[in-house]
């Protein structure tokens, strides 16, 4: 097992950040922790990277205990924290050299691993890290986390605040790193990124809601979802909220995802209700559950 947590709990004063969490990550797996701010993701990362000691439970990374063998773990994992943590006053090249030296290696020795990412920021290698754009900072941080050829890579919200294009590129990079045999634990608040992981843990308020493959997680959604469209989104939401048979209704892009309390739901009845209430251009169609639907249902 690359990562193994057993009944891990951690509190900060009265706040229980992580409550009795257990899961395993297989070697070479791309495993996602999916949840909003305050779910406990960063606390888990800090425990696994030996920067924080859990109140209860045990955890291993690459076979080493996070408390007793912390030195061995630090040698064999890479960690990219959510907050940019490189030296702002050092240049791109200096940061990378610094991290390589700390781990007793050189840029040349492991260049192959970072090459593809590093070439994108190499034109700016003399620029101070603090002066880089968000996307370039992210790439540099990833290079620094990889420079000692870690077995396990911890990425805490690497794509938060990053635009969709750069996010897509970042995930393509992760996939290629995975193919090189690196185990990756990554967290994200973006539910659409969950689908790109081998397995995911949905996490909220310090507790795991579910762990499975993305495909299985959406399969478990208990109801049929309908896409409801109309000209006036605000009115549509108000009327659906007032409808007596509504089980859940959430805006999803241009539609509302609607589920009904009853098993024998009849779309015509809903259409008539909406028409009676003055809504126009109504469309009602079955649609598939997404990970976000499942998350909201579980978090309810």
């Amino acid at each position: 097992m690359s990562i193994n947590l057993e009944h891990i709990s951690k509190s900060y004063g009265k706040v229980e950040a992580v409550k009795n969490i257990s899961f395993k990550v297989n070697p070479g797996e791309l495993f996602g922790l999916i949840g909003p701010d305050g779910a406990g993701k960063t606390t888990l990362f800090r425990i696994l990277t030996t920067l924080l000691i859990a109140d209860e439970g045990k955890a291993n990374v690459t076979g080493f205990d996070v408390v007793k063998d912390y030195k061995n773990i630090r040698k064999s994992v890479g960690y990219m924290p959510g907050k940019f943590s490189l030296y702002q006053d050092l240049t791109v090249e200096e940061n990378l050299t610094f991290f390589a030296t700390i781990f007793g290696t050189t840029i040349e020795e492991n260049y192959e691993l970072i090459k593809e990412i590093y070439v994108q920021i190499e034109p700016f290698k003399k620029r101070r890290a603090g002066k880089l754009s968000g996307g370039m900072k992210q790439k540099l941080a990833l290079c620094c986390a990889l420079i000692h050829k870690p077995k396990v890579l911890f990425l805490d919200e690497p794509t938060t605040g990053v635009d969709p294009v750069s996010r897509k590129e970042f995930w393509e990079m992760l996939k290629r790193l995975q193919q090189k045999g690196i185990t990756i634990l990554v967290s994200t608040p973006y539910m659409d990124e969950a689908a790109l992981c081998d397995r995911i843990a949905l996490i909220q308020d310090g507790e795991i809601l579910e762990i499975d493959t993305p495909a299985n997680i959406v399969k478990h959604f208990p109801k049929t979802i309908y896409n409801i469209g109309s000209k006036d989104m605000y009115e549509l939401l108000q009327k659906l909220k007032e409808f007596e048979h509504t089980y859940s209704m959430y805006p999803f892009g241009e539609f509302v995802h609607y589920t009904d309390k009853r098993d024998n739901f009849n779309p015509t009845e809903l259409r008539q209700y909406l028409e009676k209430n003055g809504l126009q251009n109504i469309t009602i169609e079955k649609t598939k559950a997404t990970i976000e639907d499942t998350f909201m249902e579980l978090a309810k």
């Binding site: 635009d163 973006y190 241009e254 978090a299």
Partner: protein, 243 residues
């Protein structure tokens, strides 16, 4: 100045830093009550453009009126007539909910009486009675964002600028937040919003997409999808921003 129903009028607005053009002659209008999505990749120039529109950065050239005031000559009036919130700056963590409301009410020059009325109304509407005296720093992010949005509307601005208001918020709260946006828009407040969540782009009446300082696309989400032969706004964005 302001024509018909437009609360934002921008023509050829440009901002240069040395020989770098961050915002390159952008032109658009935003109507009263409209939800206008202002999208773009990181570094496309969105933040620079917003800074000009809210009166905290001087444009290099072009024209812009916001809430009826010129952003070159009348920045103080612009600031008084708009609301602003972002993920990075919203409320003071070391003040209670009530203190934040009072503080921002005071900043916007509301009378004590008015602040009290607004404060009570806001606390009731959001159901904050129990936590009104708690420090904002102790509240979950989702609560903070909802309160920050209400505070940005405290002085009944014509427009509210929201800079990535929902980053990191859980999916349910994110949707509750958008319901608040719809409601404000329904009541006539113009919403100018940036986001990296492309499903949120679909909630906007119209969307503009900036690429390298220029507005490369501007239309309703429906027409943009038709124009770019795309299934979702995410596809539109990927097609445009990747060239």
């Amino acid at each position: 100045m302001m024509q018909n129903n437009n609360v934002i009028h921008v023509k050829e607005l440009t901002k240069k830093f040395g020989d770098f053009t961050a915002v390159d002659a952008i032109t658009f209008d935003v109507k009263k009550g409209e939800i206008f999505g202002f999208l773009g990749a990181n570094g496309a120039g969105k933040t620079t453009a917003i800074k000009m529109l809210i009166g905290i950065s001087n444009p290099t050239s072009g024209e812009a009126d916001v809430a009826g005031f010129n952003v070159f000559t009348n920045t103080e009036d612009v600031k008084k007539n708009i609301g602003y919130m972002s993920q990075k700056f919203a409320l003071y963590d070391d003040l209670s909910v009530k203190e934040n409301i009072t503080f921002f009410g005071g900043i916007y020059g509301l009378s004590r009486k008015r602040i009290k009325e607004k404060s009570n109304a806001l606390i009731e509407e959001l159901g904050l009675e129990k936590i009104a005296n708690h420090l904002v720093g102790s509240l979950p992010l989702g609560w903070k964002q909802k309160i920050a949005f209400s505070v940005a509307l405290l002085h009944d601005p014509k427009i509210v600028f929201l800079d990535e208001p929902t980053g990191g918020v859980d999916p349910i709260t994110r949707r509750q937040f958008w319901e608040m946006i719809y409601k404000a828009s329904h009541e006539g407040t113009t919403i100018f919003v940036t986001t990296h969540y492309m499903d949120e782009a679909e909630y906007c009446d119209r969307v503009s997409i900036m690429v390298n300082g220029k507005i490369e696309a501007l239309d309703t989400p429906k027409r943009l999808k038709e124009q770019f032969n795309a299934k979702s706004m995410n596809d539109v964005f990927l097609k445009l921003a990747r060239g």
